[in-house]
Amino acid sequence: MIKTENLHKSFQIEGREPLHVLKGVTEHIEKGEVVSIIGPSGGGKSTFLRCLNMLETPEEGHIWFEGVDITAADVDINIHRQKMGMVFQHFNVFPNMTVQQNITLAPVLTKKKTQAEADEMACELLNRVGLLEKKDEHPSRLSGGQKQRLAIVRALAMEPNVMLFDEPTSALDPEMVGEVLDVIKGLVKTGMTSVIVTHEMGFAREVSNRVLFMDGGIIAEEGSPDEVFYHPQNPRTKEFLSKVLY
């Protein structure tokens, strides 16, 4: 479903050495797979995820999404992004719209749905995550966990083929982590292809088919959750896992 080949990305900071964040990442995410990406901060996890829908443009390498090279210059990236949902660490819900408008905006603007169809689907989705009675509120009236659940269904409203999660629970108060993880778990059970950057090790172990450990801009180790969490081969994986509690 998503294939990357030799991705390189560096950030230019004025007056300093460019920061080389991705140093050749080659990976293949299959349809229906749930892949978790773990690793220390600055290891390139989020940058890799953000490259997958071209929010960051890699300087080198290729990304194929459903067989199309989306790094090509003549590709209309908007069409492909419509099929990739993304959930951000800081929710990024639209504060100038109601909860329902947050969900219907993109399907209506991209002409996937009429306003009436989109409204109906929004109610359905909100009901699924227990936010139906909030549909006419503005996001400023929601808690962090509710905002993130809204962000998830906003992405789902485009009926994507793959979901990308960028540390979806890192900005949440501890008591709200559970409700968001439950929504993601429910989603994964429906067979949604998902890529999840996370610091929730227990969650990663439970939901994913495959775990990638990223460090220093490369995938340092990958395998099933059992292999990575209980029998890590790479000394850096061992060191990282010994430092985190889960």
Binding site: V93, P95, M158
Partner: protein, 221 residues
Amino acid sequence: MLKNIVMIMSKYWKVFLLTGVGYTLLLSALTVFFGTILGILICLGRMSKVKILKGFCSTIVDIIRGTPMLLQIYVGYFLVPKLLPFQVSEFAAVTVAFAINSGCYLSEAFRSGIQAVDRGQMEAARSLGLTYSQAMKNVILPQAIKNILPALGNEFIMITKDTSLASTFFIGEVMTSYLKVKGITYLTMECLIIVAVIYYVLTKVLSFIIGKLERRLRTSD
């Protein structure tokens, strides 16, 4: 002195309050209106990826901010009628100079208002598959307007006071009224006091109205 002021006002109140205030308000309203449009265009130009456009807009803003407004009015007054093929009134020529000046200052306010919107908002909108302009129009600009409005109101008040510079060319606003009445009566100080009170009341009323508008917008959040 008070007697003189009362005398001047009873005789020349029309010159001050009708012609003067009328032209002042007209000139500032036109300036803010065209300045806003121009400001949006310059702001878009400066944020655009086309290098020539970006450089052109940045240069204009740089020049306008680096030269005195009075000089810009002079240039407008003498240059605009020469550049245009049809007859232009003095008032129109001065208005053009004011609008360009105001547009440049406002473009800065617009730019910072847009850049103050969290980067994540654009990313979220684009990640849903919206185009850049769809995201701008539906997500970024509605949020940016709230950041921009205070600056816009401030600019309106500043412009109202700055229109006094246009009296250099006797185009009829309050300061021109001062020059006219002073020329007839030779009562300089009295006329100045009248004009000062008019400007003060004008800006007070304007800031009251703008403050009300802002408060209403904030509660609709």
